[in-house]
Symmetry: C3
Subunit: 334 residues, 3 copies
Amino acid sequence: MFEHNDPNRIQLNSSGQLRHFLTTEGLSRELLTEILDTADSFVDMGAKQIKKMPLLRGRTVVNLFFEASTRTLSTFELAAKRLSADVLNLNISTSSTSKGETLKDTLMTLEAMHSDMFVVRHADSGAAHFIASQVTPHVAVINAGDGRHAHPTQAMLDMLTIRRHKGSFEPLTFAIVGDILHSRVARSQIHALRTLGAREIRVIAPKTLLPRHIEAMGVKVFTDMREGLKDVDVIMMLRLQKERMTSALLPSESEFYKLYGMTTEKLAYAHPEAVVMHPGPINRGVEIESAIADGPRSLILDQVTNGIAVRMAVMSMAMSGQVVEKQLQHPSAN
Amino acid sequence: MFEHNDPNRIQLNSSGQLRHFLTTEGLSRELLTEILDTADSFVDMGAKQIKKMPLLRGRTVVNLFFEASTRTLSTFELAAKRLSADVLNLNISTSSTSKGETLKDTLMTLEAMHSDMFVVRHADSGAAHFIASQVTPHVAVINAGDGRHAHPTQAMLDMLTIRRHKGSFEPLTFAIVGDILHSRVARSQIHALRTLGAREIRVIAPKTLLPRHIEAMGVKVFTDMREGLKDVDVIMMLRLQKERMTSALLPSESEFYKLYGMTTEKLAYAHPEAVVMHPGPINRGVEIESAIADGPRSLILDQVTNGIAVRMAVMSMAMSGQVVEKQLQHPSAN
Amino acid sequence: MFEHNDPNRIQLNSSGQLRHFLTTEGLSRELLTEILDTADSFVDMGAKQIKKMPLLRGRTVVNLFFEASTRTLSTFELAAKRLSADVLNLNISTSSTSKGETLKDTLMTLEAMHSDMFVVRHADSGAAHFIASQVTPHVAVINAGDGRHAHPTQAMLDMLTIRRHKGSFEPLTFAIVGDILHSRVARSQIHALRTLGAREIRVIAPKTLLPRHIEAMGVKVFTDMREGLKDVDVIMMLRLQKERMTSALLPSESEFYKLYGMTTEKLAYAHPEAVVMHPGPINRGVEIESAIADGPRSLILDQVTNGIAVRMAVMSMAMSGQVVEKQLQHPSAN
C-alpha cells in the first residue's frame, strides 16, 4: 500500500535497488551516492584505450526519443555501446505515433522483441514515469528528459562533477542561474543537491522565469546576480530554452546576457574558488562569456566526460536491479 | 534446365538448402519445417539475459530499404545484431537512386564492399527476386516485403506462432480477413499454410478487395464474416494498406470496421478456441476491437517475439546455405 | 620550428608515423607505401567469412559529416566496424551547427566523451586540417573529403588498385579526365602519383574545368582526348560534380560525353592494356559508356573493395601513431 502511494517507489525493486531511473526526487542519499561511486569507476575506464565492459552484453537498449536531441542521444548510445549492449535508435516524431499505433502498442511491441531497456526522451512531463508504469517487468526505463519535469542523468553528472572537484556537498553553497521556469534540469539538480546535503541552494532568475512557490523546494530565490552569487561555491548555469519561451517572458538575448549572463565581472561576486557549470550546448555571449567557458574555473567539459560515466552507471545499476527483482520473484528462472 | 524453369529454385543451393529467402511459394514442407524448428530454438534464446549468438560474426548485413518501414527494419536490425553481424542500414528513396546510379550499380558496389547479405524491402513486386538473380554468388538475399508479391518472414512468423499454440496445421481451418487484394502477407500465408498441410484456408473480404481468380490458390472465398468465420480455428487479420487503396475500393473505415473489423461479436462466429492474429501495427477500432487485441485469444505480441526468431532463423540458414554452396563449387576455398 | 612551417607535418607523430590522415601531399613515399602494404593485408581479410579484427576494439570512431554522403559514410562505417570500433554517425548540417554551438565546442564535447577518432567530411577546403589542429592530442582525424582540397583515402584506394593490377608506378603514364577544377580527388591523386614515382601524369579537361597554373603540380595538360590518352596506361575518370558547376562552365551533359566521356572509341587511343578507373557513383552515358564500365578493363569495383581496405589501413595506422605519441610524451601512462 505504501509503495503505491509513493510515486518514486516505482524506481526501486523490492530490495531497494534501482530498477528504473526516472527522477532524482525521493531517492535516498545512499542510492545517489552509489550512483556516484559506480560512475566514478567508469570515469577512469573512459580514459583507457579499451573503453568496453561486458555488463550489458547481449542486452537490447532502445533509445526511444519522442523529442529529438542528437547530443543526448549520442551520450546514451555511446554509454550503451561501451557496456557492450545492442542499441536500437528510434526517433518517434509525434506524426508517426499518430499514424495509427498508440504509445502503449509501440511499447508492447518493443517489449515483445525482448528489449531490456528503454531510454526515453519526451516533451511531456511525466512521460518516463508513465512508460515505466506500463512496461512489462524486467524492462528498465531511463529518463533522458521529460517536459519540464526531470532530467536526472544530467543532474547526477553535475553531482559527480561537483564531488570530483570539491570532495563533498555539505560545506558548499550552490546557485542555479537562468530559466528556472522551464528547466527540468534545475528541478533534478535541486532534488539531488538537497538529498546529498548541500548547505545552501539558490536560484537566480528574472521574475518571469521563476516558477511560483519555488521556495517550497528548499531554495533561496534571487533576482539579482550580485546578491545571489555572493560567497557561492558552485554556479550552475542553465540553457536558454529558446524553443520553450514566448517573447513575453524575456525582452532579448542581449538584455538577458547583461543581467544574468556569466561574465568575468559577475564571477567576481562569487567565492574566489567558485566553479562554473553548464549542461551544454553553450550559447557563447548569451548565457556565458567565452573567457569563463574556456577558463580554469569552468567544469563544462568535465560534465560531458562524467555524463557518459553516469549514464553507464545508471544503465548497469537499473539492469542489475531488474535481474535481482526477477530472481526474487521467480527464483528458478534464468 | 528444370532449375531455370522454376522461379523458386533460385532460393536453394545445389544441395537443396536455403540460400535466399524470397517467397514461401514453392518451398518444400521439410524446408518450411526446418525454418520453424530453427526459429523455435531462437525463441527460447530471446528470453535469456544474453541474447547473442556468434552465427553471423564478422558478416556484413545490409538492410536495403527502398520502401521505409521503421518497424520491419528494427526487427531485422535486432535479429542481425543478435547473430553478431555488422549491420548497415540504407534507406534508399526513389529520389536518391534516380540521382544517377542504377540499382545494379548500387548492388555491385555493396557487393564489392564484401557485404554478405541484403535484406530488401521494395514497393515493386519481384524486386527481391530480381536482386537475388543479379547478386554475386555467396551473397544471400532476404525479402522483407516486395510490392504485392510476398512477405515471407511475416508468413513464417505467423506459422511459428500457430505451431507453438496449436501444435500442428493439419486439423485446422484458417481465415485470412481484410484487404486480400493488396496484401503480400496474405499471398505468403496462403502458400505456407497449403504446404504445411492446413485443412482449409478461407479468405474473407469485400468483393472490391479480392483479387480475381484467388480460388486458384486453393482457398475458399467469403464476403460475409458470419459465414466465413464459422468453425474457424485461426483468424489472421490483415492491415488496411491505406496508402495502397483508392477511395473507390473502400467506402470508409467505419463501414469496413462494421462489416469486417474483428469484434467480440464476430469472434463468436468462430470455433470457441479460435485465436486471432494481426501483423501489426494495429489500427484499434478500424481493423480490430481493443477487447480482442488485448484479450486472451490474441496472439499479436507472440507474433512480434516470433518475428525476431524467424528472421534470425532464415538469416543464419541462408548464410549457411551460401557457405555450403561455395564449398561445393570451390572445395579448396576458404 | 621546421615542423610548424610544414602544414603537413601535423599528420605525423614525433617518430614520423601517421597520426592524422588529411592529405596525400607532403607524405613520404615510404609512408604511402606502408599504407598500401597495410591495406593489402586487409584486402585479403575482406574476402574471408569473418571480416573482423580487434585493432580498434573499445575505441570510439565518430563519423563527423558536415556534408552528406551516404556512400562514403558507409565505407568508413564498415571499415570501423570491421576493426571492432564503436561507431557514432553524426550528420551535422549547416543549420544545426548554426543553432548556437560552434564547431570548436562540438569538437571539444566529442573529445570529452573520449572519442578516439574523427572522420571528417566538409564542404570547406581545409576543414579537416583545421579540426586536426584544434583537437586534443590522442584524437586522430581522417579526412573524408574537404571542399576542393583533398580526398586522400580516395586517392590511396586508387593507388592500391593500380599497384595490385600493374605492380608499380614508375613505368606508367596516367591520365586524369574530367572536372579537374572542382576535384579534390584529382589533387590527392596527383600528389600521391608524383610521390610514388609515376613516369608521367596528364590531366584532360575542357579549358573551363581546368584550374589555372595546374602545370605547377607537375602534370601535362590536354584539352583533347585523342592527344591526351595516347599511350596512357591508366585512365582515371572523375565524377561530374553537377552540384558544384554553374551551367556556364559546361554546355551540356551530352556535349561533355561526346568530347570527354570514356567510350570504346576513345579507349582505343590509349595503350592496348590501359585500365579505366572511376571513383563512383558512375553516371552511365555521361562520364562513361556501360561497355567500358562493365568491361574487362574497368577496375571500378576493385576500387570499391580496396576502398574499405585503405580506410581500415589509415584508421588503424593513425590510431597506432597516436598511441605511440602518447607513450613517447607520457611514458608511464596507460
